[in-house]
């Protein structure tokens, strides 16, 4: 059965039985998205390809949906904050370009070059904590950080890499604590996972851990791979956040009665807007998106330049942070996952998580493998945060607000896969060319940036050709 057929079945089931209806039976043309609530049970256990495809069909439908007031779009009484927060003032309109809700659906922004992709400057979003000054109407950076829309291709692989790295770091921490207790002296260890260094910790014999030398990751040693800042743990967390922020569609698992005492926290007349199963469908669809592929140029000159550019990329030490690939032990994606905390469903909050074997996806067969059989995820990133400005090169330090404990000029290494088809660039989407964004690299990337600036025209050109192949 093809995907469209499954969608139709889901819609029929939805229309017939599953919808929570405000006015009794609704006609099929009612201005509601039938996919909401169509997955009635939270997925659990390992899904075979057929069940996974059915779930993905709903997830895709939800991702492409244009949410309506009848769905629960809008949040007149709630702010965009990730902690449920009541608005001090009711907005005069149901949507607001800056403080949100700023879109009717995910694909309104994530659509370049196709649905699930990035977005142009016009899709920039304005990130603020949403606690005070939640209803700002200015792009003045003292109220929000303006961010471009990232693409989601390969996002499942990214989250799996981050989970494995987090697990590695936790294991290293436990080992240091054991050694310290055994030796009855402080033990300082390097935090290294997948050959990416996250600094050092010092474990003390009494179980304390000194975290002052941790670098590029949060002090709980959880690698948070999503957002320009690297502050989102999982696709699930990001989805719950974004649904509220951008659409005013509130997920029960955070905005429901269990945490807020109200089934309709945003007071838009629609209770329990998105179930945990709805969120699962969205997560499944995003997690199984194929990773961006590398272009195979037919033009000989371009082909030769790109080949040469790969060498320049290495010579200029771009790959120190933009790692061409990171090894992944397992393609089994569990949702809810292991590192989310209360407010986002996690594996301890459910009887059994669902497992999506990404290996079932057609694209997974094309992933290269190392000699240990591990998939090599070609993300061109290190899932680590770096300081991106210095005294002279500070264009990427244009924000005024730190985000979730991360300094204003510190960002997660951008994964370069897909960069050839997702211009413009930079966290604000305000660099129109690759040359500009390379020259904007300061701070930890300064030496590579300077080497690029000093390189001959041919090398620069080749590097651009290579990047445009990604």
């Amino acid at each position: 059965m093809n995907r469209m057929g499954l969608i139709l079945i889901a819609m029929v089931v939805q229309a017939g039985f599953a919808a929570p209806m405000a006015f009794g039976e609704e006609p099929v043309w009612a201005e509601r998205n039938a996919s909401i609530g169509s997955v009635e049970q939270l997925p659990s256990g390992e899904l075979d390809k057929k069940r996974l495809d059915a779930l993905l069909a709903v997830g895709e439908d939800l991702f492409e949906a244009k949410f309506t007031a009848k769905d629960g779009a809008g949040r007149p009484a709630a702010t965009q904050a990730i902690i449920p927060t009541k608005a001090r003032h009711r907005p005069t309109s149901s949507s607001a370009r800056l403080s949100g809700p700023d879109a009717n659906g995910c694909s309104a922004c994530h659509n370049d070059p196709v649905v699930g992709g990035a977005g142009d400057f016009v899709t920039n979003v304005f990130v603020s904590e949403g606690f005070s000054n939640a209803d700002f109407d200015t792009s003045d950076p003292q109220f929000s950080n303006e961010r471009g829309t990232n693409h989601l291709f390969g996002a499942g692989l990214v989250e799996l890499l981050a989970r494995e790295m987090s697990a590695d770091l936790a294991t290293l921490r436990a080992s240091a604590l054991r050694q310290s207790k055994l030796q009855q002296k402080p033990v300082r260890i390097a935090l290294l996972s997948k050959d990416v260094s996250f600094g050092h910790i010092t474990a003390l014999p009494d179980g304390l851990v000194d975290l002052t030398e941790v670098d590029g990751v949060d002090t709980d040693l959880v690698v948070r791979p999503f957002s320009q800042k690297g502050v989102m743990t999982s696709l699930r967390q990001f989805t719950v956040n974004a649904m509220n922020h951008h659409h005013g569609m509130q997920a029960v698992e955070r905005y429901g009665s269990r945490w807020t005492g109200e089934p309709d926290f945003d007071e838009d007349g629609r209770a329990n807007e998105l179930s945990a199963a709805d969120i699962s469908a969205l997560v499944a669809w995003q997690a199984t998106l194929p990773p961006p592929g590398q272009k195979k140029f037919t033009d000989t000159a371009w082909k030769e330049a790109a080949t040469q550019g790969a060498l320049v990329f290495s010579d200029l030490k771009c790959a120190q942070c933009h790692r061409p690939s990171l090894p992944l032990n397992s393609l089994k994606f569990n949702d809810p996952g292991p590192f989310d905390v209360a407010g986002t469903l996690n594996q301890d909050q459910v009887e059994t998580s669902a497992t999506y074997d990404l290996g079932l996806m057609e694209w997974a067969r094309k992933l290269p493998r190392d000699i240990q059989g591990r998939a090599l995820v070609p993300l061109f990133g290190d899932l680590k945060r770096h300081k991106m400005t210095d005294r002279r090169i500070a264009a990427l330090g244009n924000e005024l607000l730190s985000q979730r404990f991360v300094g204003r000029d510190i960002f997660m290494t951008s994964e370069l896969w897909g960069i050839g088809s997702t211009a413009p660039y930079g966290h604000r989407n305000d660099f129109s060319s690759l040359d500009e964004i390379i020259l904007a690299h300061g701070g930890a990337a300064r030496s590579s940036r300077d080497a690029y600036e000093a390189a001959d025209a041919n090398s620069k050109s080749s590097l651009i050709a290579y990047l445009r192949s990604l």
């Binding site: 405000a22 436990a174 009494d206 179980g207 002090t219 269990r258 005492g261 089934p263």
Partner: protein, 552 residues
């Protein structure tokens, strides 16, 4: 037009009702209720608080770490029976487990103990204990490997001969050692005892000189009104705590609740009616403090027979005067009679403690309940209360659903995370036993237990003097929500605790922490991630995280 609008109104009514019905009405308490599983027997915690009339009151427990593993151990008063020390052997997130450890104390010193509080008096590496006894009070100096030595002589401390039932400690400014307050009950040797013969209370300030604390010149707090709980509290944000005393009207004549001003220099003086203090006469059994409305002025839950009181500073009182009004009824926390069973007589409340049992960032209140002995006018079946904080600022009784509604006579208690899983457990001393030890399993579901909200456990490292930071105020901010706790030794009913200070964080995955140290200095902001135990060392830029030993 008029008819049309009438028609429309009637016609649309069912639709309006239907629309409203699409948003289900909120149930009384929709938040997580912890499932508290009673594990005393399997945990190896065999204990009973025994004794005749003098032991109708008391029955305390101290929770603290005596062996350096940061897992809370227990010292339990047993009345006429020997006190007991239990070392915590629980594994992270696992069943509670305790190992009884023999005390190297004389039979005399181990018995006749009504209450016990932990406090590091001499600023060494070990927590000491103050034993409240029928007769001489005792300071036990803590040592390595949970060894305790009677140190009254070493600290020039005269334990007296009173019937002591309450204790509190504070570090007055510039003092190297704590000031100790002892609340005493009935003077049994006075003519006419027990009626109207309340013993005076005692304030023991350390002498200024010497490398060891010297409590050789105690001050008598006269009059005493049969205190059952005392607490140093900075009620007016002055930086100089006063002493709040709750008294049992059962035996006093002309007595009332008390608040003593404890000036840095000079003698303590009781706040009078002229200064705004309104007389309150209750069967005061226990004090718990929390700043429920985050206005900087703490509220006090006072247990009693019948209504529990919630004393909140009257905003209409002139200036900073200690004029309190009772807010318990409005907050639904009077807990005046059993919430389950058929016995509708008034309750008898003892230990009170504010804590967040379900980690939803809302403060809950635990009250130990139990008939004095066989008082016919009060409930015989009188289960402990678990009043859970709601989003509306009111409290909702959930003791039965949580599983703590046992037919026992509660006295002292401690709300502590014994297995380092981030969920607060509970130990209750029961008169004539057995003690109750509840493990917080999280919320019960069809398939098992699931954890509740996020949390953080905070330990302060104040420096060489008062290392635990007694008197410090910890403020935790998540989103627009601010919570605060003051580290106190005192209050409750004959019971105290030292260790990580627990905050529930709800759905917040990060928290900002600031500390107002006991000398009044504020720390900078510490930023920590949820679901961790952290240590905040004074003057250091960053918090350290602490990890309990993993399961073997």
């Amino acid at each position: 037009m008029r008819n049309l609008s009438k028609f429309l109104t009637v016609w649309s009514l069912p639709f309006l009702v239907a629309t409203a019905g699409s948003v289900r009405a909120e149930e009384a308490f929709v938040f997580d209720v912890p499932s508290m599983s009673e594990e005393a027997e399997s945990a190896g915690l065999e204990h009973s608080y025994e004794g005749p009339w003098e032991y109708f009151v008391g029955g305390g427990v101290a929770s603290f770490d005596c062996n350096g593993d940061r897992m809370p151990d227990l010292f339990m008063a047993a009345g006429t029976a020997p006190s007991q020390l239990f070392l915590n052997r629980s594994k992270v997130g696992g069943a509670l487990q305790f190992e009884k450890r023999a005390l190297e104390l004389s039979q005399r010193d181990q018995s006749k103990v009504l209450g016990v509080y932990p406090v590091n008096i001499d600023n060494d590496a070990y927590t000491d204990l103050v034993l409240l006894r029928l007769g001489e009070n005792i300071i036990l100096k803590g040592g390595a490997d949970c060894r305790f030595t009677k140190s009254n002589r070493e600290f020039s401390f005269d334990g007296g001969r009173a019937w002591s039932t309450a204790f509190a400690a504070t570090w007055e400014k510039a003092s190297s050692y704590p000031t100790l307050a002892f609340g005493n009950y009935v003077d049994r040797s006075a003519p006419g005892s027990p009626w109207g013969t309340c013993e005076a209370n005692v304030l023991a300030r350390p002498q200024k000189s010497g490398e060891m604390p010297n409590y050789g010149e105690p001050f008598t707090l006269q009059p005493g009104h049969c205190a059952l709980s005392v607490l140093f509290t900075d009620w007016n944000r002055s930086g100089t705590p006063a002493l709040r005393v709750t008294n049992d009207r059962q035996y006093y004549r002309g007595g009332q609740e008390q608040l003593w001003r404890i000036p840095q220099q000079g003698s303590p003086r009781q706040y009078s009616r002229n200064q705004g203090w309104k007389p309150l006469r209750i069967w005061g059994m226990g004090i718990a403090e929390a700043d429920l409305d985050q206005d900087g002025h703490p509220e006090y839950a006072l247990s009693s027979m019948g209504d529990t009181m919630l004393q909140t500073l009257d905003p209409e009182a002139e200036g900073e005067r200690p004029t309190y009004r009772d807010d318990a009824y409005a907050k639904q926390m009077t807990a005046h009679r059993p919430y389950t069973g058929t016995d509708l007589k008034p309750s008898t409340g003892w230990h009170t403690q504010f804590a967040d049992f379900n980690n939803d960032a809302r403060t809950d209140l635990f009250i130990a309940k139990g008939n004095v002995e066989a008082m016919p006018d009060f409930a015989a079946f009188d289960p402990d209360n678990l009043l859970m904080g709601g989003a509306d600022g009111k409290f909702y009784e959930q003791g039965e659903k949580a599983g703590i509604a046992l037919d026992r006579r509660g006295r002292g208690a401690a709300v502590v995370d014994f297995n380092a899983d981030g969920m607060l457990d509970l130990v209750v001393v029961n008169r004539k036993g057995p003690a109750s030890l509840f493990r917080n399993r999280g919320t019960r579901t069809e398939w098992g237990y699931r954890p509740m909200g996020n949390w953080v456990g905070i330990e302060l490292k104040n420096g060489l003097v008062n290392s635990a930071g007694i008197g410090a105020k910890i403020t935790v901010k998540t989103g627009n929500v601010t919570q605060s706790r003051t580290i106190q030794i005192g209050g409750g009913h004959a019971s105290g605790q030292l260790g990580f200070v627990h905050f529930g964080l709800g759905v917040a995955e990060r928290a900002k922490i600031r500390v107002q140290w006991p000398d009044g200095d504020w720390s900078h902001e510490y930023r920590v991630f949820a679901n961790n135990f952290v240590q905040i060392p004074r003057g250091k830029a960053d918090a350290l995280y602490w990890y309990p030993a993993p399961k073997e």
